[in-house]
């Protein structure tokens, strides 16, 4: 496992001003495949979604019919007006009221249906997002450790949050919008045709014009968007770097140099930023202009046709509404295609993760670790037999390692930083599978145990103590979930941490915050010792503190560990020479490989790497 904690990547590039306009969209590698999977995934919601689609359809159809009916009212006004002018009568307001009544009903029904549809679709997407998150979380549990070696945690994190977020947002929009826009795209021309084929023809001719212009601009602006994104990253990168290295920059009088460099990046950003913004901002005026072109066309052609008497003034009014609205579903469909693209890209990453190969399955005939009355059957003997292992198959780091360790013995693992001292530990707990060879606990191949059983035999106290956001009591009980309060307190006492806990404001109920920054490193380690006590394991894995612990706490930690080690088989990643010299066996590691094995005296006699390592600390100048 990599110790490098990668922070969450700096989000997606922020939504640029006037969003949408030609920003390059992240694309999925296999668009249709991913969409198919996504559709399959939404199966539990099919029924509701169908209802939603039907509702959407009805709602849109009603909305489309509206202007045509409204036209009748206008026509009545026109002819009524003429009657007034020629003094042959007046406007029939009863008729108009009737029409208004019908339309109110129509619009109400349409709006209600649209609302119901939105709710149905939103619920379906939210529930899908929920179950995606759930599945990812469960999947993490079943993944082998090796998966996380090659990937920063931020990557998996961003799938749970960013990707699912993107998906839920774009999916929710796309689903209802696609249905509505599709019906509108078909419905508007049909309604237009019922008024006049000549005008429809003209209106339909204008639309491709807008599409061509828009796609031309999108292409142009995309170039600048890519550049802008790059320069933005450069600016942000420089800021991040200079702020993180602020002290060094100051210490070496680097202010001017840094400001000058920033200016260069900032100017680059300015140049591309305004260009990309301008170009993407052109979309609105251009579509508006083309829309106006259609409007003028309708007025002209409609004027002639109406004067010639083949259509009415109301028809012109309805037609204007249709033409003005017709652009909308088209640009919306284009937008939906974009959002679908990013949704597919997000979904692809999620499914990719869900489809990753999982841990080797558990044995079907597990060996028990306790007898019927609950007494442990394990004494704690550990042996390695011709173990071969490598994090990569092509780079074997443990070559044919064999060793027998009696129950209750202490094994020290030593070596310079980064020598891979924790590898052995990870193999023991079966976090990784061996390439070949066998590890036995009490003579049983560890693969014969259930993973859970095997791991319950071990207790771990790592230097990078892991605590979670919760009370101290909860954190300690993590060692054994069914432990009583008394047992927890007894364990804390044995780990010399009871006194410290009681000095805290809320004692055992003190909250440890998310970064566990409200207690010191040394105290954290004491708590993990207590946790291991509570778990009462047969075999212990200890990681000695190197630094950043104050002296008095260090003494407590030492005492706690000594206490814990009694009567258990111990693997100690050792830094203190006294520990190393007292060990029953020393494994010397170098660059991931076990290079020497033996007791202190044996190894010193060998005068090899261990001797070098041991002496280097006290070399005379």
């Amino acid at each position: 496992m990599s110790n490098e904690k990668t922070s969450r990547p700096m989000g997606r590039p922020g939504h640029g001003p006037m969003g949408g306009g030609g920003r390059p969209v992240e694309k999925a590698k296999d668009f249709s495949g991913t969409i198919k999977k996504l559709i399959k995934f939404m199966r539990p919601h099919y029924g509701k979604m169908l209802i939603g689609i039907i509702f959407a359809a009805i709602s849109v159809i009603l909305m489309i019919i509206g202007p045509k009916i409204l036209a009748k009212a206008t026509d009545e006004l026109v002819s009524g007006f003429l009657r007034v002018v020629y003094k042959t009568g007046s406007i029939d307001f009863e008729y108009i009221l009737q029409i208004i009544g019908i339309l109110i009903g129509l619009y109400l029904v349409s709006s209600v249906l649209q609302y119901v549809m939105s709710i149905i679709m939103a619920t379906a997407t939210q529930k899908t997002a929920y179950s995606l998150r759930k599945q990812i979380a469960e999947k993490i549990d079943r993944m082998p450790f090796s998966y996380f070696d090659s990937r920063p945690h931020g990557d998996v994190l961003s799938r749970v949050t960013n990707d699912v977020d993107t998906l839920q947002m774009s999916l929710g929009q796309s689903l209802s919008q696609t249905v509505q826009s599709a019906i509108q795209v078909v419905g508007y021309p049909i309604m237009m045709l019922t008024i006049s084929w000549q005008m429809t023809l003209m209106a339909l001719c204008v639309i491709p014009l807008s599409l061509i212009l828009v796609s031309f601009i999108v292409k142009k602006s995309q170039v600048y968007f890519v550049k802008q994104q790059r320069y933005l990253a450069e600016v942000n990168g420089h800021v991040e770097e200079m702020y993180s290295g602020h002290i060094v920059m100051k210490a070496f009088n680097g202010e001017q140099k840094s400001i000058d460099e920033f200016k260069v990046h900032n100017n680059h950003l300015y140049e591309t930023a305004w260009k990309s913004q301008f170009l993407s901002g052109m979309m609105m005026p251009i579509t508006q202009f083309v829309g106006n072109l259609g409007y003028v066309g309708v007025c002209l052609l409609g004027g002639w046709l109406a004067a010639a008497g083949s259509i009415t003034v109301g028809d012109i009014q309805a037609f204007i509404t249709y033409v003005r609205n017709f652009n909308q579903p088209i640009s919306q469909l284009a937008q939906v295609m974009n959002t679908l693209q990013s949704a597919a890209a997000a979904a692809e990453r999620i499914f990719e993760f869900l489809e990753e190969p999982e841990e080797v399955p558990e044995t079907t005939t597990p060996k028990p670790i306790v007898d019927e009355s609950g007494n442990s059957l394990i004494k704690g003997t550990v042996s390695f037999e011709n173990v071969h292992f490598g994090y990569n198959p092509d780079k074997i780091v443990i070559n044919d390692f064999s060793m027998y360790i009696n129950a209750g013995k202490r094994v020290a693992i030593v070596g310079p930083t980064g020598a891979g001292k924790t590898t052995i530990v990870k193999l023991l707990m079966r976090f990784y599978e061996l390439n070949s060879g066998t590890i036995y606990v009490d003579g049983t191949d560890i693969k014969e145990f259930k993973r859970g059983d095997l791991r319950s035999l071990f207790g771990m106290v790592l230097q990078d103590a892991w605590l979670f956001n919760g009370t101290i009591m909860e954190n300690l009980r993590y060692g054994r979930l069914d432990a009583t309060d008394e047992e927890v307190i007894a364990a804390a006492d044995a780990a010399y941490v009871d006194h410290f806990i009681r000095t805290l404001d809320h004692g055992y109920h003190t909250e440890i915050n998310e970064e566990s920054s409200n207690i010191s490193q040394g105290q954290k380690q004491l708590l993990t010792i207590a946790r291991a006590f509570l778990a009462d394991p047969k075999i212990l894995i200890l990681d000695e503190a190197t630094s950043s612990v104050d002296t008095r706490t260090e003494v407590l930690i030492q005492k706690g560990m000594d206490n814990l080690m009694k009567n258990r088989t111990c693997f100690i990643i050792a830094h203190r020479l006294s520990t190393i010299r007292d060990a029953d066996l020393i494994l010397v590691m170098r660059e991931g490989d076990i290079v020497e094995v033996g007791t202190h005296d044996e190894l010193m006699a060998e005068n090899g790497f261990y001797t070098q390592l041991y002496n280097s600390q006290f070399e005379e100048e």
Partner: protein, 743 residues
């Protein structure tokens, strides 16, 4: 936010004014379009392209009829405005235009001013109505006029009229006057046009061509206006993007410059990550709102105002409908936002939370699995997941209201306009086209206000960003250069003197350092040791003036460091931080950071001492090996060695090592210290060194033991082992007695 905008918009005042002017132009154009549509409907379609009651040409006979109902003054004006074309001397094209010329003389309208035309139109209203009415009643076989004409055997009703007694005529006129008063202006205009149309038909004039012409010209004007609107909008886009990008460039530049001059104290106050977001994301946020503001928010009141003007000039008094719709819509948005806003805020927190749970899960994976607690973690995750689901559902269900409600209001507005407008049409105050235009204005205005509402949603976030940026800009520096800087005393080179130095963080209740006294000498190593929180790092960070002392003074080369410029002080210092910090570039550029003109040989010597040569040489590109941002492509130990080498290249008088060997293994640590010692002895450099490991400092000439911010002892290792209890404690915790005895 407002303050920020005010300050940074200044250089762009002219373009901003231009933007507003252009937006005004755009609004005018957009609003003019429905006007023309209304003209096409009212004049083009309904009146056959005839704008008013002034006929282009008129038969002599009809001319005479009209004059019957005019006062003498009016008559003179009327005759003055027309010229007579006689049947005999009609030109060919005149004959073509007015075929009736073959039989009858025709009066043709002279080229008159629009003022005179309006006057003519007004005085013609009554006569035209009279003539129309008389013609109509003459055709009515049951009417009095018809009977009278039969009685006197007169075929021309007007001859009949001229024979009528004056008072009878007066009564007729009075009746017409009453009628005119009753009907609205639009009806009189329409009936005037109807008269003209009939007359022109009688002349044989091609009225269809006239109508087509009218529509054509209106269409061409609309096209020009549409083009004008697009042009304005594009220019606005150009200016707005330049202004907002320039605005954010200036702002970002100033923030960066400010932060670069911050001392560690200001850095601690804001925290590094917060400063990064303030310089990047927050500025970006402000910029985004700027664009929106310039293009949309400013536009809405302009178009709203323009529309009101148009509405007033069109005579339709339905502005209240628009106002009502805007208020209802803003109300709906307001209510929905009020309902959803708190949930939005929670939503961000929940996302952080699920991030936290997942991160905990991932980071603690070995522990989780070692203790078999996967189920427990999954339950925790599911708990947050459920809460996200509930929260999101609430937000979605609330926001789902928005669209249907808005369409409903907008459609309702159309219906209301039809109803109210219908009555106004009947009373003659507007025409159908006006009403249609009104519908379109109202949509434009409502849309503009909706846009404002959309932008308003973004505003709170942006104003928070603006505030955060402003906070940085308005921070006063804690550390200033002196007004009249002194210079270092070269005779005391390499001496660092702490005189009763105390330090506390601003706002803190207790001193971090209290009454520290010691002198570091050239060619010697002064080391600091103590447990975490003892203040050992703070001591050495005071020397380069990352912080200023609270009490006492630090003298370097005999001069108080507050009396020289920060630049001059830091020129003397080679600083190596705890965490190796490298900058983007290559290894060589990093090593040359403090001394740009260092030779390759100098780099090599420095990396030799820093024990970095071996790994640099192992890289295929050697010194040209690229360093990624934050130095992520080299290990912690390598970073430390390079940052030591960087300080060495500078060849400073004073070295400061802030726990700089922690990532090195014992062996490298020991070797490096040996080489370094040789060098500093040779160059008479002063070394200040903080360490955790006692083995790293055992050989220092002077060890300062710190405990809770106070000096617990000063001396060599041997002296301290005898006299200083704190030192002994540290020593015993790290080394066994035997090892210590080995010395």
């Amino acid at each position: 936010m407002f303050q920020l905008v005010k300050k940074y918009i200044k250089p762009f005042l002219i373009p901003v004014i231009a933007i507003i002017a252009l937006l005004f132009g755009q609004a005018q154009c957009e609003l003019a379009l429905p006007d023309y549509m209304s003209n096409i409907v009212d004049t083009g379609i309904q009146n056959g392209g005839i704008e008013d009651g002034v006929p282009l040409a008129i038969r002599e006979s009809e001319f005479q009829h009209l004059t019957l109902f005019m006062s003498d003054a009016d008559k003179a004006f009327f005759e003055d405005s027309y010229r007579l074309i006689k049947t005999g001397d009609a030109a060919k094209d005149q004959l073509q235009d007015y075929p009736v010329l073959k039989k009858e003389n025709v009066y043709e309208l002279k080229d008159i001013s629009s003022k005179n035309r309006d006057k003519l139109n007004d005085l013609l209203v009554k006569p035209e109505m009279m003539v129309t009415a008389i013609a109509k009643s003459a055709a009515d076989k049951d009417g009095d006029l018809y009977k009278m004409m039969n009685q006197y055997h007169i075929t021309d009703p007007f001859q009949m009229i001229s024979m009528m007694p004056a008072d009878q005529l007066k009564a007729q006129e009075k009746m017409i006057d009453k009628q005119i008063k009753k009907i609205g202006a639009s009806v009189t205009r329409a009936s005037g046009a109807a008269f003209v149309k009939n007359e022109l038909k009688a002349i044989g004039y091609d009225t269809d061509a006239m109508k087509d012409n009218y529509i054509m010209i209106a269409g061409a004007k609309m096209l020009l206006i549409a083009l004008g609107s697009a042009l304005c909008a594009i220019l606005v886009g150009l200016l707005a993007s330049r202004v907002s990008a320039g605005f954010s460039r200036d702002l970002r530049g100033d923030v960066f410059k400010k932060v670069e001059n911050f001392s560690s104290e200001e850095f601690n106050r804001f925290s590094t990550s917060s400063l990064i977001t303030r310089t990047t994301n927050d500025v970006q946020q402000v910029q985004m709102v700027m664009v929106m503001f310039l293009r949309i928010v400013v536009y809405a009141p302009i178009i709203g105002f323009g529309a009101v003007l148009h509405v007033i000039s069109s005579g339709a008094s339905m502005t209240w409908i628009i106002a009502m719709c805007v208020i209802i819509l803003l109300g709906i948005i307001g209510i929905l936002m009020m309902l959803a806003m708190p949930k939005f805020k929670i939503s961000q927190k929940l996302i952080d939370k699920i991030n936290g749970v997942t991160r905990e899960f991932l980071d603690g994976m070995p522990v989780v699995r070692a203790f078999n607690n996967q189920k427990n973690e999954e339950e925790k995750f599911d708990d947050v997941n459920q809460r996200i689901l509930k929260n999101q559902l609430f937000i979605n269900r609330t926001m789902s209201c928005m669209m249907p409600a808005m369409t409903l209001v907008m459609n309702g507005a159309s219906l209301l306009i039809i109803w109210v407008g219908g009555h106004q049409i009947e009373s003659g105050s507007i025409q159908v086209g006006d009403m249609m235009a009104f519908m379109q204005y109202s949509m434009q205005i409502i849309m503009a206000f909706l846009m404002i509402a959309m932008v308003a949603v973004m505003l709170p976030r942006a104003s928070v960003s603006g505030k955060r940026v402003l906070e940085v800009l308005s921070t006063d520096f804690c550390i200033h250069d002196p007004q009249e800087p002194k210079h270092f005393n070269d005779e005391q080179k390499g001496y660092i003197d702490f005189q009763h130095v105390s330090f506390r963080y601003p706002g803190a209740e207790e001193d971090v350092l209290h009454d520290i006294n010691f002198t570091a000498k050239p060619g010697e190593t002064t080391a600091f040791i103590g447990s975490t929180g003892s203040g050992k790092s703070t001591v050495i960070n005071l020397v380069p003036r990352f912080f200023d002392v609270t009490e006492g003074a630090i003298l370097v080369d005999g001069v108080d460091i507050r009396d020289v410029t920060q630049h001059e002080l830091r020129e003397k210092i080679g600083y190596v931080p705890q965490k190796g910090v490298l900058f983007t570039g290559d290894i060589a550029s990093n090593l040359r950071y403090a001394k740009a003109d260092a030779t390759d040989e100098e780099l090599r010597i420095a990396s030799d001492i820093a024990q970095a040569t071996e790994f640099i040489d192992s890289k295929p590109e050697g010194y040209a090996t690229l360093i990624a941002q934050g130095g992520t492509n080299v290990s912690g130990g390598q970073k430390q060695r390079l940052s030591i080498a960087r300080a060495l290249v500078k060849q400073p008088e004073i070295f400061i090592f802030d726990d700089s060997f922690s990532a090195l293994d014992f062996k490298t640590d020991a070797k490096l210290r040996g080489e370094l010692n040789k060098l500093t002895k040779q160059t008479k450099a002063t070394v200040l060194l903080v360490a955790q490991r006692i083995s790293s400092i055992m050989h220092a000439e002077r060890i300062v033991v710190l405990d809770k911010g106070m000096v617990a002892g000063i001396g060599t290792h041997e002296e301290l082992m005898k006299s200083c209890e704190v030192y002994q404690e540290i020593a015993y915790s790290q080394l066994s007695k035997e090892e210590l005895g080995n010395e």
